[in-house]
Symmetry: C2
């Protein structure tokens, strides 16, 4: 049976030492948010994840959701988990107090998110979608809509959904057929079928607030004719309580590879009453605000599952005795040595560890910038932070989930044959992690978003929010011998990223297929450089701590060892990525479609 | 629902054009084996795979095996499949006619193996293990043992197993506790528990011949005290028919991530009657003859699942319409273009295709060398061929299954959300493929086998069987402008491989941890160069065919396009692999085990 421990020590390092999180207190509304408060919140959150969410994880996979006559029953343990989640106010962690939220920083919600998704990814889809719906309503809703829906969604007492996909369209939402007919009272009648709707129906909440993309009758074709609607499962009575059932019904749930405790629903809308959210025909834009934070959260899923896979693999490698160290018996009193004596087992563990710790810090940096983008008094600083978040969102979504999936598989590999057996739990992590590469925009789409939208945006304005600080860091530390082993590889890989960026700028302008052909390799190259930038800074912090005689010497020494591993064993891939992407589109486009 | 088509056209290319398979007829016993006969056999085999094995694949996954009171029931359809398999003589394809086999070349059995494992991997474990047991008995059995067991195993009328693993030992078989007590009649009483025994119990055959590793009472400790025993499920009556039940019983079956139609058994031996196979205390060596061909077969599983994943992904990419080509609508009459217009979708498909076609040819080359090793009249030629097979076995086992698994996941990715749904079939391929990286020696063990055993063996004698022909090919074609785009990258990556080999030779001698730290990256580097060597030769063949006005022009043009893709988009990884492996063991061994 697998175990889970909240990585509180590492969160403390990331927030306090690396991000210097006490600077958050300069932002309006965060005056009371001390590093100690943050640590206490994470400790409480970690306890919920370890003691309540995690125990429901494996049973939830074994049982899955069940469907009958339009209703969905979640697995045993989910209702209790949700009660505890709501009671602790975890759903509203970073929502404004005016809606019943705790008003805490988003970076904190991001860290809690990692833990909850490590502990029980399938369950977190329910509160996650409620929070997503709340965010969309908070940004695009009328004052009345906010008052009506926000408190319940923020509390987690009601669920929420995002209804985009239809059988014939996923990525290409311009093809949406679900229609909205205007009614005399200002509402709309929604009719159509949506598929792959996470948390579309379940037994955890008294109501479910569906956000539905549909085309108002007579609207222009394509994405410019799509609007967003609020469609509650139960229409609200005058006093705001759920009353009459609306014309929306779950037709079936999917049988999936993993996240079996998360209901993936076919939703049938038949003359359902819907209320326009935001402006007519501007539904795509409104939905994107929801999708961007969802993409960051999905990225963190890759980290979350890699973390729990690492914890269990490391534990197993220290316990499992098999064979002898290559240099001779390490523990001659035992019949065999623990397999962690083997360099190749350590290579697997360090791959996961270097990813997890680097990704955790990178995600927290982006989380901090989300707070700056929302709260900083200076509009220029808000825009800068927002630019950085926009730039890194597709990078985090795709790289964290692709490499996180590799890491989860690596953790499973450390177990040998036992890793393939259900009871060990590792194979569930693999099956659960797999979806994160697919949903919220498959990773190939993220790469196109980076190359096709984020790079050219504002004549490279977004890019500068990342390139400039990296450049400054390299300049500032180029001559520090204590950092040379980290800064030199960073500089080398950053040069490759600059070269790749210039290549795409030049070639892609002439032929968009060149940019498309380079996109996935470019995203990975970008991500590795971002990770190297984070690791080099963490090495700097660890050096300082050790120089200042920190108590927890071994922790900082391990940081340096892991930083070195990252630079020497993961970062070198940037060289082959550059070769691949500059080989051009010719080798992809030559073959006729019929010859595939 | 997925589909499967036997890749007969490509087999024809590999066998006839690339391997010049008609040279096989110079080997004694293969005088009648014409290329046309081979093609006819593969066509018949392909039909069985398409029409009988494949239809039982998805239902077998859904139902799995069931266990009750020591018996195992295989999924619906497996019995019919097995009847057809036995009736067609497919189990004995390359076994000697004296045992009822068809006496056909091993390379042919290897090609048929790919198809059957594409069609239904879980099912093939049953005949596969019968064939493995037959091979071990044919090599190590007494004349009487051969006469008793071979015909039934070769026919597939009886099943077979390999019993190695025990709860406390998998890789480290020196720890085996199962004991064998000599009896007055020359037999042994076997007592112990074995786990993870594929096909250990089932309802497909009238008897199951277990090959069991055990320690004769009083034998030396470690692997040098282990012997191999034949333990039939039913002891044979005087006339050779299964009679009294032996003291072996299946205690339970495992719940696994995939290959659910393959029973993975806990086998309890209690005073079971066993017969020594081969010499006392030489059981490990005997088992290894079985394991080596099993390792090749497991390698081909990675290819087999990548092939079926590719076929379905390519089909989907041509059918699924979503969005527009980056350069503007490719098919303006439709609401959207098929997604195969996108360079990134093509990158995914070509990755799978370049792997599949290269791996198929590489596996067939090794299969041909198996035939040469067994049948060539010149002992030196036999040894050379055997050396090449021994060298490439761990490379194929680990690289084909690691990269094959990546490809199966890539195929699933092409489907977007639908790929995560059970009914599409792609997720089963992922779950089934995963085991091949783990069983028959986890891939990290394969890397150690390559670096620790195969490289130093005979002072590099094995290595020369690969390095010399690659070198000769590069020399011979260095100045051919028509081949420059293939030979130049091959030469560059081969130089990297030579550099890495020298590094390991030098560093590994001083410190075995250096070799261990380099092993996995070295194996992948080796595999990429082997694939490049195969692809460059296939490009040469395709060039010749086109120059000679071949009818099937598009087929050969597609070969060239795929060869180019391999050279420009997969082979460049050799540069980063070289950097990684020459970074040394320091970055792996620095961290104390307790700090993981």
């Amino acid at each position: 049976m697998p175990t889970y421990r909240a990585p509180l020590r590492d969160f403390d390092f990331v927030l306090r030492d690396f991000l210097k999180i006490d600077t958050l207190r300069h932002l309006p509304g965060f005056e009371e948010v001390t590093p100690d408060l943050i640590a206490a919140v994470l400790e409480g959150g970690g306890k919920l994840c370890e003691d309540v969410l995690f125990p429901a994880n494996a049973p939830g996979d074994a049982k899955g959701c069940t469907y009958a006559n339009g209703t969905v029953t979640t697995p045993t343990g989910y209702k209790d988990a949700h009660r505890a989640f709501v009671a602790g106010g975890w759903n509203g962690l970073s929502f404004a107090p005016e809606y019943g939220g705790q008003g805490l920083p988003r970076v904190l919600a991001e860290c809690f998110g990692e833990m909850s998704m490590s502990a029980n990814l399938a369950y977190t889809t329910y509160p996650g979608l409620a929070a997503g719906a709340a965010e969309a309503i908070s940004k695009h809703g009328s004052p009345e809509q906010k008052a009506t829906y926000m408190p319940k969604l923020v509390a987690g007492e009601w669920g929420g959904t995002m209804n985009l996909t239809e059988p014939h369209c996923g990525t290409d939402l311009g093809l949406i057929r679900t229609k909205a007919e205007p009614q005399a009272d200002g509402s709309y009648r929604i009719t159509g079928t949506k598929i792959f709707i996470s948390a579309g129906e379940h037994d955890l909440t008294a109501n479910i607030i569906h956000l539905v993309l549909a085309r108002i009758v007579g609207a222009p074709a394509g994405t410019r004719g799509i609007s967003l609607f609020i469609v509650p499962k139960f229409l609200l009575d005058a006093d705001g309580t759920p009353g009459r059932r609306n014309g929306v019904r779950c037709g079936s749930i999917e049988h999936k590879m993993g996240i079996k405790g998360s209901a993936t629903c076919v939703m049938n809308y038949e003359d359902a009453t819907g209320y326009l959210l935001g402006e007519k025909h501007k539904g795509m834009r409104a939905m994107f605000t929801m999708m961007n934070s969802a993409r960051l959260a999905v990225g963190v899923q890759g980290l979350a599952l890699s973390e729990i896979a690492y914890q269990n693999a490391a534990h197993y490698a220290k316990e499992r005795r098999q064979g002898r160290a290559l240099k001779g018996a390490a523990e001659p009193d035992h019949a065999a040595d623990p397999i962690i004596v083997h360099p190749d087992v350590r290579r697997m563990l360090l791959t996961m560890r270097a990813f997890n710790e680097g990704a955790r810090a990178l995600a927290a940096w982006v989380g901090l910038n989300l707070d700056l983008a929302h709260k900083h008094p200076d509009p220029r600083a808000r825009r800068d932070a927002d630019d950085l978040v926009a730039l890194l969102t597709p990078v985090i979504k795709a790289y964290f989930t692709d490499f996180g999936y590799e890491c989860v598989n690596t953790g499973q590999q450390c177990f040998g044959g036992s890793g393939y057996i259900v009871e060990t739990g590792m194979e569930q992590f693999v099956r659960d992690a797999r979806i994160s590469q697919i949903y919220e925009g498959a990773n190939g789409i993220q790469a196109l978003d980076l190359v096709g939208r984020k790079l050219p945006q504002g004549m490279g304005r977004l890019l500068r929010q990342f390139f400039h600080p990296v450049d400054r860091f390299i300049q500032a530390n180029a001559n520090d011998p204590a950092l040379a082993d980290y800064v030199r590889p960073l500089a080398k890989s950053f040069a490759r990223l600059q070269q790749a960026t210039a290549w795409i700028g030049e070639q892609g302008l002439r032929d968009p297929n060149q940019a498309g052909a380079a996109a996935s390799d470019y995203l990975k190259l970008f991500a590795l450089v971002a990770m190297a930038y984070i690791w080099a800074q963490m090495a700097e912090v660890a050096n300082e701590k050790l120089a200042n005689g920190a108590d927890d010497k071994r922790f900082y020494q391990a940081k340096l060892a892991t930083a070195r591993f990252f630079m020497e064993r993961l970062l070198p891939e940037t060289s082959s990525l550059l070769s691949k992407l500059t080989s051009g589109a010719g080798n992809l486009m030559a073959l006729d479609a019929a010859d595939f």
